[in-house]
Subunit: 323 residues, 2 copies
């Protein structure tokens, strides 16, 4: 899914998203062409811009002031991207979505620096909103994401995590920033409290659905479309919903357990086969659909409008996407 | 210089600094003992706590409300420490002040994570001040420091940097956070504008003096007290004031130039000898004293008080310290 294909679903804010792009581009450290190229590389890898789109759409529920909404949307995308960049350093990942990672291209040193530079800009941009509650929300989200990252990495290769830990982990890692994008946009626009809360709940459930679908696609997706081999999460020692369901079904004897105890190649192949040949991906998908439906239910208090239709379309798109 | 020895100079805020320490300790991620130990290790390495002391002292110029000043002071120390931690990853440094770095002990992955976790907490703590101007100041400082770090690392081994570049670089890397500590404390306390500006100017000049003295001690200091060999900046390809003065004196033919063109061992030895045997360190020290005097001059508008005396003492201490 590239940004062109996704932007079709963004309705009334489609034509304003390029302003977010322009702002992001303007932050490149042009006096250091090497670093500017790294930043370009990682921003281009981001792709769908779903978080900025949510922030702008939420802004449609109140005073749609792009001078404040565009910095918020850019801030959230920068925070997201900076997190990916540092994750790639932490995981020592060679590729992300089929493209070489910044650390593979430029080394850890420059990559950590560019990540920090993007975090700094994210903080500066959110301060431009001039809204203390939005800034607090941003800081709390940063905390949730950093803690979520600790949990993810400290539980890698920790066999025994359950689905509850998984839901907590993706709530911190993904859903929190979706929630902040949607809630923050509504707050900046001064939308009524009830709608601010509705957007937060929508964003959170949408983020959960988004991450679960991501984790399903890691098993089911086409390697070319996804830009990574099937099962790459498991290969990195990260348990996601499909492998956790497999573990629950065969607690005494299952290939994921054998994989984690060191019998790697054959156990990985066997895990993938068992997951793909069973109804585990379908069961996982039903969980994503459940979160999507919760997201849709959260929209009930929003008055009928093009914005509401678009938020609805996005929720369906999130569970229908193929990459 | 350890924190016990330094704290004697902090006068009226000496007994409140432990509250900053307690807050910092409370942020350790205790559910992950490994990461909590890394964070402890890097916080202990910080040492002097001069930045938190400045923030609290500045708060004495207005409403000395520790509920807001302590989070600000802790936020600034965390930002400082997180920067050091990421710098060590960027520079691949094995030791800092004689102690192994976090990356040497725990690897880059955990270290980047702990740095991000500390950045996140710093943002959350500054948001607790509830002061939008202080938050903006914090975000701008983060930007200056990140840009300063880019400049430092992109100019490593770039022979040809002049003293002006050096002053710009240390302004971003060190003086900006000193200025923010002092200005931020005064702002949180609601000190009069004239005093807020005086504290900013004081902090900035003090930070310049502090960094220049650091850079002199890198050449002149006792290896045991400093915990690193003499000339370690030059060894890492970083030009500081003493080596820049040496270059200016012998533009056509000098050992720093030969060091940068690859004749390492003998040229480094020769550079150290020429700097230590000349009056270059004295000349550099005079520049530090000049900045100290500017810091003292900035205090003129501050009414006579124990706080003013302590700020004066700190300025003298900064240029008199031996490590």
């Amino acid at each position: 899914m590239n940004s062109q294909a996704a932007s079709g679903v963004y309705g009334p804010v489609r034509d304003d998203l390029p302003r977010v792009e322009t702002l992001l581009q303007s932050l490149r450290p042009n006096e250091f062409p090497f670093l500017a190229r790294i930043m370009n590389h990682v921003l281009e890898a981001g792709g769908k811009r779903i978080r900025p789109a949510l922030a702008l759409l939420a802004g449609k529920l109140g005073n749609y002031d792009l001078d404040h909404l565009v910095p918020l949307a850019a801030s959230i995308e920068l925070l997201h991207t900076a997190t990916l960049v540092h994750d790639d350093v932490i995981d020592n990942a060679p590729t992300r979505r089929g493209r070489p990672t910044a650390n593979a291209l430029a080394g850890n040193a420059a990559t950590v620096m560019v990540g920090d530079y993007m975090f700094a800009h994210a903080a500066e941009l959110v301060a431009r909103t001039g809204n203390i509650d939005v800034i607090r929300l941003f800081a709390d989200t940063l905390m949730e994401m950093a803690t979520g990252e600790l949990h993810q990495d400290m539980s890698a290769y920790a066999y025994g995590e359950g689905t509850r830990d998984y839901f907590n982990r993706i709530a911190g890692k993904t859903a929190s920033l979706f929630a902040t994008a949607a809630k923050g946009g509504a707050m900046v626009a001064g939308a009524p409290d009830e709608q601010v809360e509705a957007l937060r709940a929508y964003g959170e459930s949408l983020g959960m659905a988004f991450q679960i679908v991501d984790d399903i696609l890691d098993f089911s997706g086409d390697a070319d479309e996804m830009g990574k081999p099937a099962g790459s999460d498991l290969m990195q020692g990260t348990l996601t919903l499909p492998s956790l369901i497999l573990i629950e079904r065969y607690p005494a004897n299952n290939p994921v357990k054998r994989y984690f105890s060191g019998h790697r190649t054959e156990s990985l192949r066997r895990s993938l086969a068992m997951i793909r040949e069973s109804n585990i991906l379908e069961e996982s998908f039903n969980v994503a659909v459940d979160f999507r439906d919760r997201a849709l239910a959260s929209l009930e208090v929003i008055p009928a409008s093009e914005t509401k239709e678009t938020l609805t379309d996005i929720a369906y798109w999130v569970t229908q996407r193929r990459s």
